[in-house]
Subunit: 595 residues, 2 copies
């Protein structure tokens, strides 16, 4: 028997092969019997091609083809033929030809899949996850993972060309001081001791800089055992980068080039560089978010100065108390009813705002309960400041700056999506920089590091360590795309005196810091270069590149929101003997026994 | 102040820059004060360059340089100057120039390292591992990890060019049926349940074939909690590959090309292809090993037929009992004393051989206690068969084939190394093929799969399922390099009837098999393509490429033989509160309390 193995891919059969014999391998996408002729759409990774069985071509093959069902695996041999004019399918890449089959081998049979293996299917996600190996056959999924593979290659190519070394760091590490989110791994060799899976390779990448590797990268698996949300996974992948002797002003443009390279190589889009930069303060002020979606305007506008003496006591007293009054202009929403406006109030309540004041301009009137407190001049000033016209709706929050930002930022995002202000084809990158170095933790009664305690302050803020650490800005940066934080990083502290001041600001004694950060500080004693880096969330980037809205769509074998793998049925119970070997007992079982 | 950041790398300064101003960054490798002039060897990732401080160039810089010690981190600015003829250092890439410094910034100080950061140091490995971040500064280590990074890139480039997709598979999976070597991870969300870290992505890569990805690869982290030996690590990296619709006769040459590409791209060596192939039977017969080092001869030679009727009862009775008598010729070792020969007997005892018979040819005499049992004709026949000459030593083992192979195979390796028969510059690849499909397990009283239960038998052996499974050969293959198994793989079973026969041969009922291999068998019901693949041990390959003899030298942050990370001090104890959260208790502590 001649070889059953393909001579080319299904999707690559074209007019160029007309008259030639080909062997194709693949799955039966569809089988139709039309007047005694059997048409099969044969599918492989590359696409579909129509193969035809007709007793005139080969009777035995035609007879065998009669048994064939969806998802059967075939090897077929036949001749490429031009389709008749009326049979040409312009939607199919191979739509101008078909293959007349004279030999078929049924490589494997298939049960009927539990759902249609097509795009845009309405199937419960639980079922899709249970049969993930079938779900992954759908063209959309095949495309997504081709994209993901291409993106990883593009990252690696860029980083390699820029002198970065790929270094693998351990998965079996140690639990961190604040290890509440660590996955622990009991040790068989060391009873009572545990490894921990890394939340990121942060420690190792800084050590690699101490080691003099200068440019490190890794597409690294990270683990975080936290309460899961739709956009989190217990294990995730980050493009992890660290550099030495490279100032932020060179690192950031390099990272922009990297991302632009990945976009070009995967979806062919030219990403304009340099990315605009917003300071944290400006981002919070204008967008109420440190990861603003700048694909649309609707910026937050302060009217504090216009209302500080107004008759509406809520506004005036908030301003007098050091708060802010800011608003957004929902263009064309002047027709909103009181009910609709009340619903918006409930929405902002979730973000800590006690209320939402509104003013609608419709049919020459000013709607909303607060309108009566303002003089015509005040209203004109507010309208002018906020660019309000007939038909618009102004929404105001008066509160502490953080509450104002959170509430109006969320409201802005809601309107952006609901009013169709967002162009989904657009990719708008930006950097948010100058993050605060520390923030006050009410609970702990001390400053805590916003990023981590090795983040370098801005040089011009160093003098504030002794007087006002809360005002200090960090050499930290986030890369933001379309309202998502793609990644972030910082320049790290490398001087012992700055590090000591930082620990002091965080309320650590020198001994306490040693205990907490152990050998990393020891390592820093042996000649640490100036260094800094960043980490990019690969899963989220692929999600945005692929135009998906859920991380589970871009991870081959993802876990559910309750951290389960429905296909593997993981996690699961194990033999008591296995636990004994690793010197642990489950307290879950014990509770059951006692109950 | 002008920028402190480098304009080029230390190792790249050359005569091309003479007269130019450069900024260099790096570590102080060495500092010498010669007649009031300070010479510093400045080191970065690229190499060394000599920088010179002289009050004539800049007094302030010269004064500052006086403080500088080994491993200080510097930024220096100066002018590239040709060295005087007599000062040229031909051993150094930058030995024709030096840099006259007029500005220095001490970026960081350094304590004196606990050991010299040079190659070929005599330092306790424990100390090196504790200060791994310093150990990694040594040129040898820098070179090793550059090599490792290059090798990974070369693998990826080759696989990408050949249509392979990189797909990431989960680290948090499920414990396997024989999960004794699994690392377990307790679940916080699911009390009493556990994830397991993968021993390999085998399951997932076969599922990806069911999914139709056709060509998958991943440079995957794998985990095995086993008693550690010098050449094992609890976490290791493998280049993991699987293909569909590709016959073994195309896969193996592709894998050869891949490895050849990696060798060319990393160490510039042309690896000849195709690799020679040895059947398992032949490898065991000629080398007593399924991973023979074929850089030298000294093959095992059977003399069973020559001695079946001899007067030496041990030989004759072993042959009569179905055993073998085989020997190796240790060229030029005829001078071995009885004591030396006895030591060799102890050596083979470890491999199960009850004794070692020997015959030395020295000064025209035949040494050894067995000589007297053989007629001159028998001795001539043995000498001729074994190519023995005056000065040689023949060593014989008479036993069951497995014992003969193990003992003589080990003895051959020992002599190969000790007699200097091995050219360490040589890389000799080969394939070992036609492995047995199953082997008889005395303990379990049944056949067990040699590779795994999805390994496809050779087509021509399928008829033996019912009569003699022990004689069946598998479509399995190992890639062997210089006596190491670099990797292995197999074609997998994809037909349900073959799979059922395989399970039957292994003593599983259909239900038992379902329970044991669960959803993978379900997956196979939905149209599984013919597939197969392999996995290459990356750590070992790098070890051989870098000419090292210990895996710890090629892993950035390795673990010791007792699975500890001496730098991290991992594993370690954790808070009881942390254990409570994940619903486990350590029984190790309990034992202590009870004691």
């Amino acid at each position: 028997m001649a070889s059953i193995y393909r001579t080319l891919y299904c999707g690559d059969v074209s007019k160029a092969q007309i008259g030639q014999e080909v062997v194709l391998n693949g799955w039966v996408q569809k089988r139709r019997d039309l007047g005694g002729v059997i048409f099969v759409d044969l599918r492989d990774r590359s696409g579909l091609v129509q193969v035809v069985f007709n007793p005139e071509y080969d009777k035995a093959a035609w007879e065998k083809a009669d048994r064939v069902r969806s998802e059967y695996v075939l090897s077929v041999r036949g001749t490429v033929v031009a389709r008749a004019e009326e049979a040409i399918n312009p939607k199919l890449k191979t739509g101008e030809i078909e293959v007349h089959i004279n030999e078929i081998t049924i490589l494997n049979e298939a049960k009927t899949p539990p759902f249609l293996l097509e795009d845009d299917i309405e199937v419960d996600e639980q079922v899709r996850l249970k049969y993930r190996y079938l779900d992954l056959r759908r063209p959309e999924m095949q495309k997504t993972f081709l994209l993901r593979s291409k993106a990883m290659k593009a990252f690696r190519d860029f980083l390699d060309q820029n002198g970065f070394l790929e270094v693998e760091t351990p998965i079996l590490g140690n639990s961190t001081p604040e290890g509440a989110r660590d996955y622990l791994v009991p040790s068989r060799v060391h009873p009572g001791e545990f490894y921990a899976l890394p939340q990121s390779p942060q420690l190792f990448k800084q050590l690699l800089m101490v080691s003099g590797f200068e440019r490190y990268y890794q597409i690294a698996r990270c683990f975080r055992d936290e309460d899961l949300r739709a956009d989190r996974q217990p294990e995730f992948t980050q493009v992890d980068i660290e550099t030495s002797f490279l100032p932020m002003e060179e690192l950031l443009p390099m990272m922009e080039q990297m991302v632009a390279h990945v976009f070009k190589a995967t979806v062919g889009i030219d990403v304009p560089t340099p990315f605009p930069r917003l300071t944290y303060a400006e981002a919070m002020d204008r967008y109420g978010s440190d990861k603003p979606d700048v694909r649309f305007g609707m910026e937050l506008t302060s009217i504090s100065d216009l209302v500080e003496n107004c008759q509406f006591k809520v506004f005036a007293s908030v301003v007098a108390g050091g708060g802010q009054v800011k608003g957004i202009n929902a263009k064309g929403c002047g027709h909103y009813s009181r009910k609709e406006a009340d619903d918006l109030t409930k929405f902002v309540n979730r973000y800590g705002a006690k209320g939402l004041a509104w003013m609608g301009f419709k049919d020459g009137e000013i709607k909303g309960p607060i309108a009566k407190f303002f003089s015509p001049e005040e209203i004109d000033a507010i309208k002018e400041r906020m660019g309000a016209e007939e038909g618009d709706l102004l929404l105001f929050v008066a509160d502490k700056p953080k509450v104002v930002a959170d509430a109006l930022g969320a409201l802005r995002s809601k309107f952006g999506a609901e009013l169709g202000l967002i162009n989904n084809e657009e990719f708008k990158f930006l950097w948010v920089v100058d993050f605060p170095l520390v923030e006050w933790d009410e609970e702990e009664g001390r400053y805590v590091a916003l990023h981590h305690p090795f983040t370098r302050p801005k040089d011009e803020d160093l003098h504030l360590f002794d007087t006002n650490p809360g005002q200090m800005r960090a050499q930290a940066y986030d890369m933001v795309l379309n309202g998502y934080e793609l990644g972030g990083g910082s320049m790290r502290i490398y001087n012992r005196d700055v590090q000591e001041k930082m620990f002091q600001a965080l309320g650590h004694t020198p001994e306490g810091a040693r205990e907490k950060f152990g050998f990393l500080l020891n390592a820093f004693d042996y000649g640490t270069p100036p260094h800094g880096g960043m980490a990019l969330g690969l899963d989220r980037l692929i999600m945005l590149l692929a135009g998906r809205t859920n991380l589970r769509e871009v991870i081959a074998f993802p876990k559910t929101a309750s951290a389960s793998d429905l296909m593997l049925n993981a996690p699961s119970e194990v033999d008591a003997a296995q636990l004994k070997q690793i010197h642990i007992a489950t307290t879950a079982v014990k509770e059951e026994v006692e109950a």
